[in-house]
Subunit: 249 residues, 2 copies
Amino acid sequence: MSEQEKKPVTAGFVVVGDEILSGRTKDKNIGYLADFLTEIGIDLSEVRIVPDKQEMIVEAVNTLRARYTYVFTSGGIGPTHDDITADAIAAAFGVPIDKDPRAMAILEAHYPPGEFTPARQRMARIPEGADLIENSASAAPGFRMGNVHVMAGVPYIMQTMLDAIAPTLEGGDKMHSQSIDVPLPESRIAEKLAIVQENHPKSSIGSYPKAKDGVFTTQIVVRSRSLDVLRDATSAVEALVAAALGKSI
Amino acid sequence: MSEQEKKPVTAGFVVVGDEILSGRTKDKNIGYLADFLTEIGIDLSEVRIVPDKQEMIVEAVNTLRARYTYVFTSGGIGPTHDDITADAIAAAFGVPIDKDPRAMAILEAHYPPGEFTPARQRMARIPEGADLIENSASAAPGFRMGNVHVMAGVPYIMQTMLDAIAPTLEGGDKMHSQSIDVPLPESRIAEKLAIVQENHPKSSIGSYPKAKDGVFTTQIVVRSRSLDVLRDATSAVEALVAAALGKSI
């Protein structure tokens, strides 16, 4: 291969929130983070949604931080009693947690005099040794501890924090992709598609059924970090689709 | 307490799909299953999204089936080479997998003569000892193996399968909930809310910040399996909100 390959850069995502598990809130952060990471060449490899329980957060964070290049978390860093993510991260890393002077200064400057209440001071609790993540939306910072990035759960605040984190992330080779819409149910092309996948092992070929008004069609998505491989595999898929449709190409 | 308490019934959900992790497809099944289970008194306790890799599916399924009353999976049971969930479940349970005569009969009857191709026959591969789950949308069945329910990933097919599964699930006491909208940022009520939570340990009080046009408000959700507990805790929250707003009640 002529193209230089970098090692894949991977990520895990821990969504903290009883409200997602109960159905009260519909998650919007997973799809956003997936798009964001794909765009900069990082593979989101696993997501866990866990309740507001310290031992569950600790288990998920410790498993994923050992397994992937980066870990992201969302949720549980507000001022109320059910916001326990910062304490859970301190427990996961075995470090103390207390009000952080940098975070205290940011929040003190943010609130009108006399309104930086003890509840709000809770948002300044940061595990020892963490770097702050700027929150240009609502001041209360996130933080980075080792390879774990702790962000707010409110989507637009999480997105703001991701923008602040982005320059610090080292992306891998970008994953390129090509979609092919096929006006046939996937079972009509499945066998030949498996052969194309076998012949193009450096590509990843996904087949996604769609149904509308009782008509089944398929979207095939070819993905590769190499544009050469992507082009070859896509051509092979297009040839098999043309053959299945009875067209010559 | 006058009300009889049942043991909580819990569930884990494994979403199988590279397409969710890459961002190409935005998941709709997690929120749907969360609502569905909450409605019948089952606590969705953990969700994992894993790629189309056998060892990842096996790990998630084996961990969650030991931990929760029920496990559900979605995705990866179609006819193409990237559909590996049935094989992964067989591996997780250490049982053989082959074309199942019941599934073969269903699919044979579904397709026009001569169109039940080898690729489509792949959808009849079911681990030994599993029960089939009816798919009234597109015939190809899901299956139940032990406490694990294996469903399609296409949302309306998953929903059809859930309807077929529902009568076989034993729900717990339904979780009741009450929402209170508070026109204040959550930090204004956080301390008193923590005390209410402490005084009502049989309830679960969540606080969810909202922001619109730069104005922060809060939704408080009180949840309990006991209507008595729910009523008492809700009254206490309403009293603290009224006090914070300077109203008498």
